[in-house]
């Protein structure tokens, strides 16, 4: 047994009588490990909290300890977010006109919309989990990077037209339409998400932005008949990038405001 192995034993929580024979033998021969185990075992009684401080805490908590209804399970919120994503994307496409869907082949439809739905579910669960302190969740930044890489990979594999065309003119129109769909999606998602207690507003803002951006992107995939790589990869995906950036910025401002007010 080495000191490195001993670390593993300490990390797994064994420091006392439950140590294995090997570990006990190592402690007898290794002064550093013996000192370390002895220090860890020296943890004494918890610190006493000042009674006046406890009284102040009781005063602030017990005076308003009204019953509260526990937050609904994470899955309920996540699927509500997915419904918002789908509803806004479809309503946006209906309003803009569904001209993009007919020009897609069956394989392109399956690839694009399956991936968009899967990424939306991922972002929705990320937002829902971030509403609850201490829940295991991905960061909004990681969700964004996954979404960006997967979306670009899908577009580059299903479209093969590299013509530029009226790049700026067509692109600006799509970007504006996509963002106009993302804004109501972000507002609705935020209205639901604020029912939780968000500890990481920048990460959650980015995840809300990613989900809202995907609603805008989905609306564009249903609406836009232009299927050239430069247009789709830059202007359509641009909706996702801008939404995440704005979401993270709003999160940062919220954190700044709350740290000034607390």
């Amino acid at each position: 047994m080495t000191c490195h192995d001993m670390n593993g034993i300490l990390i797994s929580g064994h420091t006392g009588a439950e140590l294995s024979a090997d570990a006990r033998q190592h402690i007898q021969t290794c002064a550093a490990c013996r000192a370390l185990v002895s220090s860890i075992n020296s943890v004494d009684a918890p610190y006493a909290v000042d009674t006046a401080l406890l009284e102040r805490i009781r005063g602030s908590v017990l005076s308003s300890a009204a019953p509260v209804r526990p937050l609904a399970p994470t899955a309920v919120f996540a699927w509500a977010f997915v419904v918002i994503f789908g509803a806004i994307a479809y309503a946006g496409a209906l309003r803009l006109g569904i001209h993009g869907l007919p020009v897609l082949t069956v394989i392109q439809r399956i690839a694009i919309f399956t991936v968009l739905l899967a990424l939306a579910v991922l972002a929705a669960f990320t937002v829902a989990r971030s509403m609850r302190p201490g829940a295991r969740t991905l960061s909004g930044g990681i969700v964004f990077i996954i979404a960006l890489i997967v979306e670009e990979a899908v577009f580059f594999s299903v479209f093969h037209d590299y013509r530029v065309g009226r790049f700026l003119h067509w692109g600006a129109g799509c970007l504006r339409s996509g963002l106009l769909c993302a804004i109501p999606a972000a507002l609705l998602i935020w209205l639901l998400a604020r029912r939780g207690y968000i500890l990481a507003p920048i990460s959650t803002g980015a995840a809300i932005g990613a989900l809202a951006g995907m609603a805008g992107l989905t609306a564009l995939e249903l609406h836009c008949p232009i299927r050239t790589i430069p247009h789709v990869a830059i202007w359509h995906v641009g909706v996702l990038i801008i939404s995440v950036a704005v979401g993270a910025l709003i999160g940062w401002l919220a954190r700044l405001r709350s740290s000034h007010s607390s």
Partner: protein, 192 residues
């Protein structure tokens, strides 16, 4: 050795939390009494300043109160509590960024000798923890003092179990080096 909030078990503090959510003032009071010492120690070991730890504990309870509806009975309570406490600590750190929290490691052994040398004893865990980087200290406090499991510590610190293990491993290496340093220095000053 572990202190998952005094003598109560994890499941009983979860029951107290559920009763607190339903407006039971006695349960809220009991929860404050049994969780506060561990949280206070968490803050005191990080800030090294009792008055600052007082403020952080009070702020944590205000936030726990605001967020109490987000706890779901059946889920582990300690990661929920420590995630909130950790953010209170981070927010306070952002406010007091200009102040130094970290001790330079090169003088750590000397300070350990000063802390324990007079009595010719090994430094205790609290003294050793003062000389670890904040992220490693946080993990050791959670695992060895607050009684969180690896999974619970990972949830509370928003990172993976692997990352918690890595931080704990590095912390033990550093503590071992500090103890070896303090042992050597103590031996050098001892009369033979």
């Amino acid at each position: 050795m572990e202190d998952p909030s005094s003598s109560r078990s994890k499941s009983s503090i979860e029951e107290l939390m559920a009763a607190y959510q339903s407006g039971d003032q006695k349960a809220a009071n009991a929860l404050i009494e049994c969780v506060s010492p561990a949280l206070y120690r968490f803050f005191a070991l990080h800030s090294g300043d009792r008055r600052h730890a007082d403020d952080l504990l009070q702020e944590t309870w205000i936030r726990i109160h605001k967020a109490r509806h987000t706890y779901r009975f059946g889920e582990p309570l300690l990661p929920w509590l420590y995630a909130i406490a950790r953010h209170v600590k981070i927010d306070a750190y952002r406010k007091r960024r200009h102040e130094r929290y970290e001790e330079p490691l090169k003088t750590a052994s000397d300070q350990l000798v000063a802390a324990a040398g007079d009595k010719n004893e090994l430094p205790d865990l609290d003294t050793l923890l003062q000389h670890l980087p904040a992220s490693q200290r946080e993990v050791i406090v959670m695992l060895k003092i607050s009684g969180l499991s690896l999974e619970e510590a990972a949830r509370a610190t928003s990172c993976s179990v692997g990352s918690v293990k890595q931080k704990a491993h590095r912390a033990y290496e550093k503590m071992r080096a500090l103890l070896a340093g303090s042992n050597d220095s103590t031996r050098q000053v001892e009369p033979t």
